[in-house]
Subunit: 314 residues, 2 copies
């Protein structure tokens, strides 16, 4: 998906170096040349990392899906000198997953980077399509919950203490809007782009791109010759999160800058969440805040459905 940004007139000047500008960023009320755009992008990533006080050369696991956000995250962390490794959970969703895998392979090979692949079917017992067939309605939140849990577990298993995800400003602002419209104050309070490890079984979490908009990441990928997967997950069509992002996109178009102002005003003044006491899942021994972790919870529900649908004479 080459993203072609709007052509600027020849007299447009870069806001930083005053040279010829190429890249318009209306939400910053600014135009940039290529070099200064890279500087802007890098600074935004560095500001995101600063909060967690991650030193250079720290090993960071990067959750990769083959999409623009995760590949741009991986590229940025490498450029900043971190030791990175990609972590791909293959969901085996037909062509979507094979195209995603190819995008990761292409990116990693061209840059000589390491990555691991795990199939959800192997680590959980059910693939996303298996789950989709057994559950009614939208699968996105279930899929998100599973990926979150397994990213935690696999990061620790692979010997890393930090995992980075590709969530961008649009993702974070959309989630915040959804939580505000749903009046879920507890989620609004908890939403944070960097979370220290609450205990030795859960890695610290980083969202290096939380200060960057989708559009800026598309431009970054185009300029860096990163070729992300160009098809969307066929199961995510009509996801609620897309709708809140669309509503914000409309407001951003009408009032450039409102989206980042909105997100940052809620993050400002928040202090890092404190460690929470946690228990151990009765079933699998992984850390959880309830009796059963969400993975075991879902697995039990799926197995129950399977037992019910089995003919009784078996």
């Amino acid at each position: 998906m080459p993203y072609s940004f709007k052509q600027l007139p020849p007299q447009a000047k870069c806001i930083r170096c005053k040279g010829q500008a190429e890249i318009p960023l209306p939400s910053h009320h600014a135009n940039f040349c290529r070099n200064c755009f890279f500087h802007f992008f890098k600074t935004a990533v560095q500001r995101a990392l600063k909060k967690l006080k991650v030193g250079p050369k720290t090993p960071i696991m990067v959750a990769v899906s083959g999409g623009k956000d995760s590949l741009a995250t991986w590229e940025s962390l490498n450029e900043l000198g971190f030791q990175t490794k990609g972590l791909y959970i293959n969901l085996d969703i037909e062509e979507f997953s094979s195209a995603s895998r190819q995008a990761i392979e292409r990116f990693a090979n061209s840059r000589n980077l390491n990555w691991s692949e795990y199939h959800l079917k192997e680590i959980f017992g059910y693939s996303i399509l298996d789950i989709y067939k057994r559950m009614r309605g939208k699968i996105c939140s279930v899929c998100g919950r599973l990926k979150r849990q397994f990213l935690n577990r696999l990061t620790i298993k692979e010997g890393f203490e930090i995992v980075a995800t590709g969530h961008n400003l649009d993702d974070e602002a959309g989630r915040l809007l959804g939580n505000l419209i749903g009046n879920r104050a507890e989620y609004v309070t908890k939403q944070y782009p960097y979370l220290p490890a609450p205990n030795p079984y859960i890695p610290a979490k980083l969202k290096p791109l939380y200060r960057l908009e989708k559009k800026e990441i598309l431009i970054f990928c185009e300029l860096k010759d990163i070729q992300p997967v160009s098809i969307n997950c066929p199961l995510s069509k009509g996801a609620t999160s897309h709708k809140f992002k669309n509503a914000l996109e409309y407001l951003e178009k009408e009032m450039p800058g409102i989206k980042r102002h909105f997100l940052f005003s809620y993050l400002k003044g928040k202090s890092l969440p404190t460690n929470e006491s946690f228990g151990i899942c009765k079933q699998c021994g992984e850390p959880t805040y309830a009796d059963l972790c969400s993975v075991c919870n879902l697995k039990n529900r799926l197995e129950q459905k399977d037992r019910k649908s089995r003919p009784k004479y078996e």
Copy 2:
């Protein structure tokens, strides 16, 4: 602007009486016949009035602009047996104001209702166009503030203790969204569809239509043969409030019912605001929370501008 609602198939049943339905209301996941729609509308108004414990026959001043909301408010309060009088502040904005005035006159004459008219120019010294010429940018918030102040003062002057305005669910939800996105917690807390009189100089305020959506009010007007002004204020084009309403309208279309759920979840559990201590404007003696009331404040700014633009040799 006759609002023509979507035709329902002949087998569509009214959710209340099971007769033939005529009126689809997707945000209620319901269809209604005419009679049951009127019952639904009346109940929504009664629920709004209940909170302020307004007894029957209470005199209520109705702020009218000639638009669908204020005329539907006036109609509903009359039907419920209140003693009403219309209060129109003529802004003298060219054809818009003359068409508004005509709509009010037509409505009031056909129902034999009393109303008073005041010209902003006469009560304030400047018309909206006078102010528009002197101020840069959007005028909507200034106009709103002036109307609010003069509605208060004129309601008391005319011997009423309650003023009703036509704010509907879309207005209230849009305002709430704007305040949440702007992270203005103090306004979120203060937003309330019924305010008791804080002192003898300010009337109690009612928004009888705050539980009804724009679309429902358009249908009500059409069925009651109310002909509101059919042109929009030429100065309100691009108003920020419209943008937040549009964003919510998009979400409502995608997730019917979300708009009312959003507003009501924030209002739920709120208790009526308590009386606040207030002072007296040093300039005009009207009640205010600051040294100067907002009307005098604006007037001083306008007069200062006039002095500055006057040639010095005068």
